[in-house]
Symmetry: C2
Subunit: 290 residues, 2 copies
Amino acid sequence: MKVVFLGTAASKPTKERGLSSIALQYKGNVVLFDCGENAQRQMLSIIKPSKISSMFLTHFHGDHILGIPGLLMTMSLNERKEPLYIYGPKKTIYFLKNFFKSGYFGITFDVIIKELKDKDIVDFKEFYVRSFETNHGVPSLGYVFKEKDRRGSFIEEKAKKLGIKGRMFAELEKNGEIYLGGRKITLEEVTDPKKIGKSIVYTGDTLPVDIPFEECDLLIHDATFLNDQDRNDTYHSTVKEACETAVKIKAKKLVLTHISQRYSIGEIQEEAWKYFENTIVAEDFMVIEL
Amino acid sequence: MKVVFLGTAASKPTKERGLSSIALQYKGNVVLFDCGENAQRQMLSIIKPSKISSMFLTHFHGDHILGIPGLLMTMSLNERKEPLYIYGPKKTIYFLKNFFKSGYFGITFDVIIKELKDKDIVDFKEFYVRSFETNHGVPSLGYVFKEKDRRGSFIEEKAKKLGIKGRMFAELEKNGEIYLGGRKITLEEVTDPKKIGKSIVYTGDTLPVDIPFEECDLLIHDATFLNDQDRNDTYHSTVKEACETAVKIKAKKLVLTHISQRYSIGEIQEEAWKYFENTIVAEDFMVIEL
């Protein structure tokens, strides 16, 4: 599983940073979180647009969504036929409908749009994405990406000793238990400990919020401001607040993103290390493997 | 006067080329022709968004207009107050209205949108822009930018010899003529030959069309295809056709743009030189001074 940071700027692009977009590469599929202007160019020779199966949008400020129509137009020029699923907060359908009526786009595939609420689950075969409400002054969501847990491998010797053989393995796998000579044998008894799926939490833009998931492998958090007084009346987090949230949910690693051009990376990194050691400041094209 | 090529790709961005946008810097003002996705980032440290007074759009395919909302959002973050004028073909108002309803943009200034028809003139103090219909399968316009001609400098010695002095200069300037001792003296008599204003023609995307302007200093022409058979049923020009148009309207210089990634620059340049010598193949960030 690879997390590719396609854009890490706050609100306006800079020479070094494009607008918000994160691609999650998972077994040949790509799930895109936000799609800021120019995402399609940022992903050149990294992500094939045809691999993007679904898109999760945190909110409808321009810097998080203006790359959508261009990307869909390019997918259409590439003659995509597969449907694309777009998930987002309240008003996603209204906004995207207007978007597609703002020019001649000639989309060649179905775009299936679904609005999510707090704590909705979108279930995929090997993972799920769960939304949670954030606090950004407009309808907004954060997302938990959770790879499903899988059973451990069979401990063949132990299983054989208990008399399991042939099609019994399949039955045990299917039902979670099997009766042999009056004794119940559970799947857990004859397999290694289950493999815990990886998990990623992405907040999008937000003031600090409660995240309904603990011990994620990676927390990607808004960290627009270094000082509380710079925030004014905007709904963003400070570096310190992002770190405090990481501590609170026992995140294993923290990536700070939505980086304002007013601070140096050194300043941000130094501030973060005061509160949470395993912190990285995001950069465009940075890749994190999990 | 500087013409800055901010994006020169055809339909999709490449690593080297952004999407269509051309900035014309004229005495501290900037007129933008088309505004493809990411134009705001392409213009970083070249064009200040605050200097853009008006925008002329050739048509509403995504690669020519998807940079508009992001640019306007950035202008708003910069607290712009001055109105912005946007001109384009039929349906410009409908499309832009939907555009501004596709997210939360919080525009801080007036956006004045006007739809132009064939051979409309938008008059500015020192120049005018004239639209002409092009042939691109959807409502589309090309534009002539024409700096107004100015009178030559006064030939002071000659004027004095004829008795012109003091406030008479202002009167002559205003009325174009003055009567002195019963003799009519015209402005032309006592000034150097008039200074012919510079002129630029931009076609946008189009099949070859009649351009209602001759001997322009610069013709910027769609040259998407090298071979006629690559065109299929698209409404674009070949390199040869762009050159033929340059010859026909006696353009002084030709810039080929909307460059398809399927050809090498060398091939395009070589083909062009067969038909029109003073041809350049556009590149991103190329600047032409006039």
